[in-house]
Assembly symmetry: D2
């Protein structure tokens, strides 16, 4: 019998690109809140979600440096299980629940891309970086302290598609609710059979289930973000009309479940 | 309405990681035939396929340099649409049809990985290279001629997992049937909902449908291949007990269909 | 005794980043000729070279896919010895000799970067790609034939810094002289000793010595090139005011010598 | 006048691969001490250094995650100025001074490689990773605490060439002297002129000058290190016969000077 959670299933179950959940994550986040054209925000929503009329195009751009582990000390294989991510969240409403919709997300790791597809995060590969903070004092250290600026960047196949900055001003005990809406995604797996290219095998609206959310070292300050026009991407349609606060924080969670909200048809 | 064939669906339909078929490919191939332990060959087969009793563990290792295009001149964006691939094919039987089963495959491109999942090729990312042939004569040119050796290598997250060589001996008008069996794959897309991790949303045995197969510059010669033990991979279970001929050829095809052979249960 | 041509010298002489010459190269080239602002062309010249008054800012942008070998069949380690390059050549005059000066050059390989520094090519790392031509007919094949377009791109640390295209029109027996001027470079190796940062250890004007230059499959057609503004680069100062012909050809040569033209002072 | 510290010199001085010193660094280090064959340790020394008779083959393997900045907030361009490094230091003696000699070093960044050559560190490109510590508690967080294991790995062009682990046991106020010997390097820049390939333009024994060395969060514990045989590398000649303690710490320094110890001849 072949074993494993994902392809490739194999005799020992060690070759699969994504090991069996639970999946554990710990990372550092730069989050920049901004307001895009409300029509553009509405235009990227899937069936089942409505525009958030109160949001006025409110969105977030997030850069994350992640470390991942499952049950086999994967964090001791950093070449394979560290990764970096950039994504956008757009305010939306599911039935009467305020949610965050993820239209675009980019990672630099294949296992993270595979997990994303399974969750409904539409991950593509990109080069993603953020300024790190180091403990030994130096002009290169970027201490977590008032006045330090952190920068993030994301490039798709050699084209710079997102850039952000956060300048820390003050530590805060917790993040504002605007950053903590439940995330809604779309699991979507197309058919290749002729005549059925638009009849996906899987097409479900889902809500992320994150256990054990923990936050540490939360700071707020000024944010900047740019989403320049890039061939093959549509991030620029969500370019900021106004930019709000920037945040830097550490975050961890565990994932082993997913809530299916609605089937969207095949 | 959101558009696109794959995630992310988007207002303009330009952001999806894999554009709508047909997909056109042209590439250069190093193929090395070998015989692995027949029990190991049988152990990697999915439900619905039987070991080929006549094959005695016959398998192929293939390195391919690919150029891809869909309908929008994607070949003019080589940073995004050229890619390199290594895969293994194992002889098997579906009902009474001799087929080739793809247990493991590696690419260096996210769009290729996405297409693979949709077809049932269990693609993971790797670094893949092969010696190229250049037209201007030089000790560096590797002409397509008797006596030239071509080498291929594949590394997964920094670990060399496959290496092959083909030394050309003579041009042949066409490839032997052993290289041309129809390829069988498994479309497999798991669920993340708690309690359903082993009940995939999609689990289908499929047969690849390749239109307009063309071959050019087919040569046969000696082959060598090594599949060393590599953490997180099970290629080494298929390591060669005996190595046969090596082939180098150019190949093109178009893909816009897939034949579903059997549902394998959810 | 430690052995090797370059660092790291080592007991067996196998660790050095660049093996001992002769070095053999064979590759495919996209070359686009253009005219930049003559003042910008003059501004990038080193001491010892004068602007070519007849050139009116004439320059070339070149994308090359290279395969390299020295004496140990390095072409059989394609992961290490294939590389891709983009560079600009600007018309200039040394004493009374028309020459081509290389102000900027980018490669995707460390051994190529090391060889470049030794020759005086000021190589930095970048991602470089060009459309390839494959033998098996397909919309993805890009045959070497009238009407086919080839594209090249170059990105530095995630920022697209050059893009070019050549559409083939007709095969030519040889390349025009404007593409074949001797290349002049500057070997430059700085000191780090305090107070001597502007007193380089090596500062020499050099002329490349390429043995056994061979050309094959030379085609001419229309060219396009863009050198967009990119943080940390000054290629854009040489942006085209007018673009001329585009060329595609294969080229090989052997390098084992260098002519020192002038010492430029330390 | 062209400006810059390194190639390419340019009209604005912004294109050079390495900006003008001072250079500031802050990073996280995994250091594993080991004893190799004393004859192998002696065999990798340059002229001017003697084997340390008391050292019995004592050496260090170091993985470092670095952030770099010069004078222009380079730390805000993390895609370009973060990098990772692995190197080996071997105990040696210069005249009567105990020193550490760096025979082999690998980085994943071109500017770091360029700085290394200027200092005499014989840098080549590689993929280097180490387990990171994150602030938000999780099985993926790797807290800096007794019992946590950190792993490092280094691969050269797809071949795993070094792997190490450190399991933290107790925090220490400072590092032992064995880790803090002055580092000796060899600046070496060869000639390409025919007949002079073994007569380098620069060939100097140097001692690193690191200002403002700062250490933080120093921990000691068990170490492990492997230096497997790898084509094109000679690290394996220094493979450990015995492994000692492992260390994890944060470190910063500033570099703007270099001490030339001896000319080694051209």
């Amino acid at each position: 019998m072949l074993k494993g959670y994902t392809l490739p299933l194999s005799p020992e179950g060690e070759a699969n690109i994504v090991p069996t959940p639970p999946w554990h994550y710990s990372g550092d986040v730069l989050a920049i809140e901004f307001w895009t054209d409300p029509q553009a925000a509405a235009a990227c929503l899937p069936p089942g979600l409505k525009a958030d009329q109160c949001a006025d195009g409110h969105a977030l751009g997030l850069f994350v440096d992640w470390q991942f582990t499952a049950q086999d000390d994967e964090f001791l294989d950093p070449a394979k299980y560290q990764y970096r991510e950039f994504y956008v969240l757009v305010d939306a409403v599911w039935r009467d629940t305020p949610v965050a919709w993820c239209p675009y997300i980019y990672v630099d790791n294949d296992a993270a891309m595979g997990r994303g597809w399974i969750q409904g995060y539409p991950k593509k590969l990109a080069s993603v970086f953020q300024t790190r903070s180091f403990a030994a004092a130096s002009p290169a250290a970027a201490p977590i302290a008032a006045g330090t600026t952190f920068a993030g960047s994301m490039s798709v196949h050699g084209r710079r598609a997102a850039a952000g900055r956060v300048t820390l001003r003050k530590q805060v005990p917790e993040l504002p609710a605007a950053l903590l809406r439940p995330t809604v995604n779309r699991r979507y797996f197309p058919r290749l059979t002729a005549g059925q290219h638009d009849q996906p095998s899987v097409n479900e609206l889902t809500m992320a289930v994150n256990d054990d959310f923990k936050f540490a070292n939360c700071w707020v300050g000024e944010g900047k973000i740019a989403l320049p026009k890039t061939a093959g991407e549509e991030l620029d349609a969500l370019a900021p009309m106004r930019v709000g606060s920037g945040y830097r924080f550490s975050m961890s969670c565990t994932i082993k479940d997913l809530k299916i909200l609605d089937g969207l048809g095949s």
